[in-house]
């Protein structure tokens, strides 16, 4: 197989800056560098995890890829087509192939529409089905996510968080997409419900051959569902690895700190765990530190970190890291 064909989405040097308007005349003076020069590939059929703490730009990355935000700079190549520069009205076919599942099951469904209309809206917009066919399609979508057709005439507020999230999944599936961006789809749900949704996502992936970009802050869940994981810090990707590898052999100091901070639901293990406490606060994304953005909180930081931005280095086996420490070791 051609290697290029395996890659469904290619992100190259993606940047998304939000202007901060200040002053009397609201002249643009500064930019929040929410996503600052990130690149990665997602292979067909895989689940690519994107983790990081709040404010690191992971949600912005997802929203920029699906063109909810305009791209500041860089390319997003979906199945050979560069969609980063496309006009909104030309995106229709892209919108049929890429969908999104949102974080807040209460805010992501329009409370004035019935569940049937919510799930059926993509069908109306893309004129995929109408009349009886539309009805049948809605029922089958609801069935796919474990709801019954009686639910179609109900309103979202009558459902629990987990059920609402499944309605959101049904809506995303309506256009029969290839690629779904899951933006923290389970973080607002109860533990017992999280597993239901995660299992459903895994089943759907197998059945429909979907590719996922799974954005979350919960590393244990991301590790469970993802094939590969990218760790973001302050608008940049600091480490990418297969999920096993990332856990067994975290290389970037930030990844190490992040992993060590997660309490394990096993008293004996978690009491033995030695967490690396991160000092200080995340710097402002308006004025990120020069050089390595993590150096202000990194206990291994040295002179080079201040001046030079580390580039991604391949450690072999799909494991890439952006850290100057790797040069030092050699």
């Amino acid at each position: 197989m051609n290697k290029e064909k395996d890659v469904i989405i290619k992100v190259r040097n993606l940047k998304k800056y939000f202007p901060v308007k200040k002053g009397f005349l609201k002249r643009k003076v500064q930019y929040v560098k929410a996503v600052d020069d990130i690149s990665f590939d997602i292979k067909r059929g895989e689940t690519f995890g994107l983790v990081g703490e709040s404010g690191c730009g992971k949600t912005t990355t997802g929203r920029t890829i699906i063109r909810l935000y305009d791209v500041t700079d860089g390319d997003v190549i979906f199945d050979g087509t560069n969609i980063s520069t496309m006009k909104e009205k030309d995106l229709s076919s892209f919108r049929k192939r890429v969908q999104m599942i949102f974080q807040d099951p209460f805010a992501s469904l329009n409370s004035r529409m019935t569940v049937g209309d919510i799930v059926g809206e993509p069908l109306d917009i893309h004129k995929l089905a109408s009349g009886k066919e539309r009805q049948e399609r809605i029922y089958s979508l609801l069935k796919t996510v474990g709801l019954s057709k009686e639910h179609a005439s109900r309103y979202p507020h009558e459902f629990s968080g987990g059920q609402r999230q499944r309605i959101g999944i049904a809506r995303a599936l309506a256009v029969d997409p290839d690629f779904i961006i899951c933006d923290e789809p389970i973080s607002a749900l109860d533990v017992s419900i999280q597993a239901q949704v995660v299992n459903m996502l895994e089943d759907l992936q197998k059945e429909l051959g979907l590719t996922y970009l799974f954005i979350a802050h919960d590393l244990s869940m991301v590790r469970h569902i993802s094939d590969r994981i990218a760790v973001m810090y302050l608008g940049k990707i600091v480490e990418v690895a297969k999920s096993e590898e990332l856990y067994k052999n975290p290389t970037h100091p930030y990844t190490k700190a992040l992993l060590s901070a997660i309490p394990i639901p096993d008293p004996d293990v978690t009491h033995k765990r030695e967490s690396v406490t991160l000092e200080g606060e995340v710097p402002s994304p308006i004025n990120p530190p020069k050089g390595c953005t993590f150096r202000t909180r990194c206990k291994y930081a040295f002179e080079t970190c201040k001046n030079k931005e580390p580039s991604m280095k391949n450690l072999g086996g799909d494991h890439t890291v952006a850290c100057h420490l790797l040069d030092n070791k050699k």
Binding site: M100, S108, E158, F159
Partner: protein, 393 residues
Amino acid sequence: MGNSKVNMDSIPEDMWEKIDNKEKESDLISRPSLTYFQDAWRRLRKNIMSMIGLVIIIILILTAMFGPLFSKYNFSDQSLKMASLPPRLELFKIDNENYIYLANGLKIYSSTSNGEIINLLNPVKQDFQKKFKVYELNGREIVLDFSDKPFKLLNKNDNEYPFYKKVWNKNHLLGTDDLGRDLLIRIIYGARISLLIAFVATLVNFFIGVLYGGISGYAGGRVDNIMMRIVDIISTVPLMLYVILLMVVLKPGLKPIIIALGSVFWVRMARLVRGQILSLKEQEFVMAAKTIGATNLRILVRHLLPNAMGPIIVSMTMMIPTAIFTEAFLSFIGLGVPAPLASWGTLCNNALGGYRSYPYQLFLPSLAICITMLAFNFLGDGLRDALDPRLRK
């Protein structure tokens, strides 16, 4: 927990059967299905004041629509003989069949004992030097002596006719105005005019405000900035002054008032809608609509506006009394609907000349304005509570 009957030490064998709970897998909803507005209605129903307001408004609208069908008078029927008759009559007894009512302005009406005015009596003789008038009613002589207060009604033998009692005016329930027009029918017609102006002006405001605010809020950025500065400029013009000037230019009438009110009050609505849209458009359901490829128009009409409807409805309910009041004010200062049309404001204005002698002519239309405004305000308050999404559970 009704398990006290169980004997913990010996539980029947069959109790330990495993239950095959297929049905537990499906997510059953046991609570009744309520749409947003059904839910709001349920909450509104509990608010006694708003329900009173709502009932008054419904009665008012029905009366304005169908009231004239049940009245024998027309709003423009004049009868100068019957001018300025109050709703309450003080009757004097002449004999068992004949009663008279002494009106302001030294007029005497013959009447039945239950307050049905028969006719205005003409004096047979009058002497303004000695200050008396003589009338004749069915062969009986009545002398009205107005030389000294209180005026006296005397018979031939200088005996006073006895005061009979106060009765309701049976011909004109709320009396008549200075041209003898039935005040009740004029107030009902006034309600027609006032409510019509208020509803139409509010609807015009609603459409302009929602469209303007919706576009401004949804477009955001520079468009929003320019559109809102225009609104700012409009809102610096004193509204009343603007309306008065407009009315002077447009000549008084029904349409000009609606145009004047409609072109002014949308500013507040536009700001409200813009604010709602601004906060709603960041919500995830709007993003979801974008990712499924919905056009901007669709997002605005299908997703944003329905969610902003609550505050818009409350604002409209509150706008109606304001419009009624403004219309009344304009009519009161003589810029209202032309005669013989009557709005509550013109009724008040007409009554102003004789309000010392005939206070009911001013009081009754004012009361109508007050009750209507209160009713709408109560309803608006109730709606605000009922439609507030924060209270939704």
